[in-house]
Every structure is written in C-alpha cells, then in structure tokens.
C-alpha cells in the first residue's frame, strides 16, 4: 500500500440513498421500502483503497452498485472527477463507464458461460474503441498475461477454469478499458484462502502499476485490514464509522465497530482479547429502528439513542463516527465480556 501523499478527491459520495420499493397485491402497489442504503456520505481519495465492511445485508454491495449507477440511486449524488454520476446523461454515462469498473464476488456467474473468456475481456474495447479484432486480441493477451494467465487461455470457455483463474479473468475484463476507479465487490470471498492471497496481491500490484483507486467491499475484517488505507463500517444502510486503517483498528470509537473487531479470530489459543457478544440479529431494513439504528443491540444505548439519529461527525484526524456517546463526550467503549 502506497502512502497517500497529495490527497486528491476522486469520488465524493453525498447523502446517497437507495430505497427499493416492496410491491404487493394484485395491483402491485408499493407497500413499503427497503432502505438498503440510507443517506451515506464519504470521499475516496485518488490512489487509495477504501474498505467497506459490515454484516450481510447492511447495504455495502448496494452502495457499491449505486456509486457505479448499476442501480439508480434514489437520492443524493456521487461526484466522480467533477461529474455527478447520479444525474449524468446516458451518453456521458457510457463514456464514464470506462473510468469506473467493478470486480464481482462470484467468479462463477460473473463470466458469460457461452462466450470465450477472451471475448469477454475484449467486450469493453469493442464498446469503447474502434480497434480491429487483431488489436483487440493483442490487448486481451496483454491483459491475460498481466493477471498471470496465458495467451492461449483467451479462446477457452469459463467452465475450463478454476475459481481463482476466473476471478483473474474478471479482473482482466475490468482492467481492459483502463479504468481509474474499481469497485471490488467482495472479490475474494468465494475463493480458497491460498487463492485469496494471490488475488489480493495481484490487486495490490495492479493498483501500483495502473494508479488505481479501489472501493473494497468485504465482510472479512482481516482482509480489509491487510488491504485498505481507510475503512468504513456500515450498519443497516448507514455509515457507523470511518477512519484510517491504523486508527480504526487501534481505536474503534463506535460500539458496533468494537463488536466487529472483537469477532476477528486470532490464530493463537493462548491469547485472550476483549470479547463482546451482540444480542439478537440485524433488524430488517424495511422498518429500521428509530433513532440510532444500532440501539436495539447496543449495550450502551440510552434514551436519546431511541429517538434521535446520531450525526456522522469527524472526531479528529478524519475519524468519523455516528454515536451520541461520543457527541456528549462520554466513554463509548463496550465492557469486556471475558471478565
């Protein structure tokens, strides 16, 4: 990971919301909303990788997709390099697509099973450039070798490859259009541990070589700790905390982050660490709790948490968190359950 020297904002997410309608009945009337992403704001600096973590169903993937406008945002804006992705016209969006790409979680469904992988990789070139078939093929070969595959793999079909290889092909496809910003949607969650490491290393090499900026979505905190410069924690469609990696792992302010941290397994049976066990499940995003969304499970919750939504505030050195305890200057550390 390269130290971010000059901090140039590449992506600025402002009050982004994505609410999916729930339709029911004969007339398919909208009877409710799933608030998958509910008012999140953050910035991504050029050349960094921002990790986004949270439990399943907390809206991280939807956030990534809404930023790329693969799903239409309900509200808010995403400023990419000066253009608002959320409102840009169809033609301009097509041009913008070259600059922002995505790598998917599931290497088995991310490649068209009836298309040779070389063609899948060349697809972006076909759309955005006027290159001839030979020129495209040359670039496909270049991409394949760059991600550690062989030139003759281009003519094969996805079913002939292993999961790790397919993930590399997916990376090659995203890279072929020469993007600046890549959303990595849990790129290693579906892979074996040994392959995970090699894919992560590949992503890091590519970041250095091509000057890429990543939004790295994951639920594995160890992977995020290894990979990200800054880390954002999401809970039920909201941002709970955002800080640099060192700061977040050393000094987690939000009780939810602390609970997450304590769940990281340490491969040492003798070592004891702080242990926090949360009660209950993540509430449904259809009718999220009022006030602070975490109050139903937070051991430190008090009256104010149930009625008033905490603001996402900077508590120094770009360490953002949304918690009333911090706002009132009270200690927000959870008790250790080992004692």
């Amino acid at each position: 990971m390269s130290e971010v020297k000059e901090k140039k904002v590449l992506v600025e997410v402002k009050n982004l919301k994505k609410h999916f309608p729930i339709k029911s009945g004969l007339l398919q009337r909208t009877t409710g909303w799933v608030k998958a992403v509910d008012d999140i704001s953050f910035t991504i600096y050029q050349g960094e990788s921002l990790g986004l973590v949270g439990e399943s169903g907390c809206g991280k993937t939807t956030a990534g997709r809404t930023i790329l406008r693969l799903v239409e945002p309900s509200d808010g804006s995403v400023i990419f390099n000066g253009t608002d992705v959320a409102t840009v016209s169809k033609q301009d969006l097509k041009k913008l697509r070259q600059e922002m790409q995505i790598i998917f979680q599931d290497p088995y469904s991310s490649l068209d099973p009836r298309m040779p992988v070389g063609e899948s990789i060349a697809e972006g070139l076909r759309i955005h450039t006027n290159k001839s078939a030979e020129e495209r093929y040359d670039q496909v070969v270049q991409m394949l070798t760059r991600v550690g595959m062989r030139a003759d793999h281009a003519k094969r079909y996805p079913h002939e490859f292993s999961g790790g290889q397919r993930q590399r092909i997916g990376i090659a496809r995203a890279l072929a259009v020469n993007p600046k910003f890549i959303v990595c949607d849990e790129p290693v969650s579906a892979l074996d541990v040994s392959i995970q490491a090699s894919v992560l290393n590949l992503l890091e090499e590519l970041q250095d070589d091509f000057g890429l900026t990543y939004l790295f979505i994951a639920h594995n905190l160890s992977v995020v700790e290894h990979f990200s410069d800054r880390v954002g924690v999401m809970y039920l469609g909201k941002m709970a905390e955002l800080a640099t990696r060192e700061e977040l792992f050393r000094n987690p302010l939000h009780p939810y982050t602390q609970a997450l941290m304590s769940a990281i397994p340490i491969p040492d049976p003798k070592q004891r660490k702080k242990r926090v066990i949360l009660e209950g499940d993540v509430p449904s995003p259809i009718n999220p709790p009022t006030g602070c969304r975490f109050h139903t499970r937070c051991p430190l919750a008090y009256d104010r948490c149930k009625v008033e939504e905490p603001k996402f505030v900077d508590y120094g050195d770009e360490h953002f968190a949304a918690c009333h305890l911090l706002d009132e200057g009270k200690p927000s550390q959870l008790p250790d359950m080992n004692k």
Binding site: K95, S110, P113, M115, I127, H153, S194
Partner: protein, 325 residues
C-alpha cells in the same frame, strides 16, 4: 527440512495444459453421438432431406412407359396416365400410382420438399420471433413483460384448428401476384402457423433470460457500458439458444403433422400440388384397393416426426451442461 514453494496457479495451468481445448460445438457433437437414437434419427433425416432434394432431379432424367400416351415419358408431377390408375408397385412405378395414374414415388419426393420446407420455415420464423420477444420480455420485466406475455397468452388461447380452417378457407383463393400459386399457398400456411406457434419459444426464452438477467455477467456488461440491445443479443440470446434449439426440433415434427392434418382436411395446400398430407387425403377412398397410397406418405410422416422428436430428445441431453454423459 525445507518445503518447496509451490505455485498454485502454475499447478492449475499445468492441469489445464493436459486437457485438450475443445470448442463448445465439438463437445455437444460428441455428446449427441453417444445418444444412439438421436444419432440414427439424424442420419435418417439427412437421408430424407438428401432424397427429396436430389431424388426428383434424378427421376426427372428417367423415363417410363405411359400407357395412355403410348410412349416413354419423363416422370413429372402432373404426368397422368389414366389407363394405369392405382397400379400396384412395379418396375415402372416403384411405389405404384395414384388415382390419376401419377407415379407415387415421384410425388412423394416432391411433396417431401414442400412439407419439409414449410415446417423448417415455420419453425425458423416462430423461433426468431419467440426468442427475441421472450428475451426482451424477460430482460426488461415490468409492463413490457406484461404486455408481451399477455399477447403471447392471447395467441395460445386461440383454438388452433378451427382458426386454421377458417383462415385457410378465406385465404385459399387469395394469390400473391408474381409467384406460382402453390408457393403463395405455402406462404400463407407458413405465416399462419408461425404466428400461432411463437408463444412457446417466447415463454421459454423469457424464462431463461429471467434467470440470466440477475447473473453478474449481465451486470458486468452493463458496467462496461453495453447497451440493452447489445446485452440481449450478445449475452441473453446465445444463452437461451440451447433449450430453444431443442424446442424447435420437437416443433418441426409438430408442424409437419399440423400441415398434414390441414392438407388432409383439404384446407392446406391444394392438389395438384403434392404434400404428404394431401396425398393421404386422396388415398382414403382407395384404402383397401390401393393401400400403398396411404401407407407410404403416412410412413414418411411417421418416420420424420419420430426422427425429429428423437433428435430433439438427444439435443436436450447433449446441450444440458449439468448432465454428464
């Protein structure tokens, strides 16, 4: 003790090296060959198609003794020989003659051309309409989907046979100017049958596309900036093709039967133009005295419908990637 560092990807690559790269088509071909009935059916169909294609050309060069004209004449569709009506198979007429003394074999081959052309065209048109509308319907969902599906349902609930009978009796005297009358009749039949048959492939391709549209490769194509039409034609339709091919093959037999039924009832292609169906129509009155007139076209209908069905069966197995043969 030191452990050698193993590069896992190199191992993977080695494993792939051993396996000879096979194209999708050659895999399917290999699987189809292992389905014995389907493979035999394929050969039978190839022979029938070859026969009706070149058979009449060869017979057109041959002559036979025509009793009525008292001369050696060419085999030709309308060459009648009223003095040798309903003659049983002989060296002059390998499959006998019909009630006007025409050679049954020659008519059978000519009829096969028409019957097979009609069924191939109908299925081709049905499938092209169906697969595209189905893909659009499944891909967009919402009101587009509802509209297309309601239209498809409308075509499905139409009572096919009464409608066909009505339409063909209306259209039987209508001629498209500039082309031979038998063609113009065939074109009407093709159009009518195509429009009645497309909902099947439409529903099938919609179903496949519904399952594909939420797969990540669709999203990847969208992320690359591909247009909806591009995604439908480059990703959805190729993936929907295998089940549609199976449906189309099974449909071929069905269309031959429908066309035969129509012609048999006198609403399809009118004599003297021969199809397998209307050859049967003329045969029913002489069923006991000249059974070959009914049995031979009937046999060809039976064989080709059966063969198309078995071929469809074999293709279904061969094109299903989950089935390891």
């Amino acid at each position: 003790m030191s452990v050698a560092k193993i590069n896992l990807d190199e191992l993977n690559n080695e494993a792939l090296l051993v396996e000879e790269h096979e194209s999708m088509i050659s895999i399917y071909w290999g699987r189809l060959k292992r389905h014995r009935l389907a493979f035999i059916s394929l050969i039978v169909l190839a022979l029938i198609i070859l026969g009706v294609a070149i058979g009449p050309l060869i017979m057109g060069q041959m002559t036979y003794y025509n009793v009525q004209k008292d001369a050696y004449v060419n085999y030709a569709r309308d060459t009648q020989d009223l003095q040798s009506k309903n003659v049983s198979p002989s060296s002059d007429h390998f499959l006998g003659t019909d009630e006007l003394g025409r050679d049954v074999l020659f008519r059978l081959l000519i009829a096969g051309r028409l019957s097979l052309t009609i069924s191939l065209s109908v299925v081709l048109i049905q499938v092209s309409i169906g697969i595209f509308l189905g893909a659009v319907s499944g891909f967009y969902g919402g009101w587009v989907d509802s509209l297309i599906q309601r239209i498809a349902e409308f075509f499905i609930i139409l009572p096919a046979l009464p409608l066909l009978l009505t339409l063909s009796s209306i259209l039987r005297n209508v001629r498209i100017p500039g082309i031979p009358p038998e063609w113009s009749q065939s074109i009407f039949i093709i159009v009518i049958l195509s429009f009645l048959g497309w909902p099947g492939s439409c529903r099938l391709s919609r179903g496949v596309v519904l399952s594909l549209r939420n797969q990540q490769f669709t999203e990847a194509a969208k992320a690359l900036g591909m247009s909806d039409l591009g995604i439908i034609t480059r990703h959805m339709i190729p993936n929907a093709l295998p089940p549609i091919i199976v449906l189309a093959t099974l449909g071929l037999g069905g269309v031959i039967l429908t066309e035969s039924a129509l012609s048999f009832l006198g609403f399809g292609i009118n004599p003297p133009v021969a199809t397998w169906g209307n050859m049967l129509q003329n045969a029913q009155t002489d069923m006991l005295t000249a059974p070959w007139k009914a049995l031979i076209p009937g046999f060809f209908i039976l064989i080709s419908v059966l063969a198309f069905n078995y071929l469809g069966d074999g293709l279904r197995d061969a094109l299903d990637p989950r089935l390891k043969l």
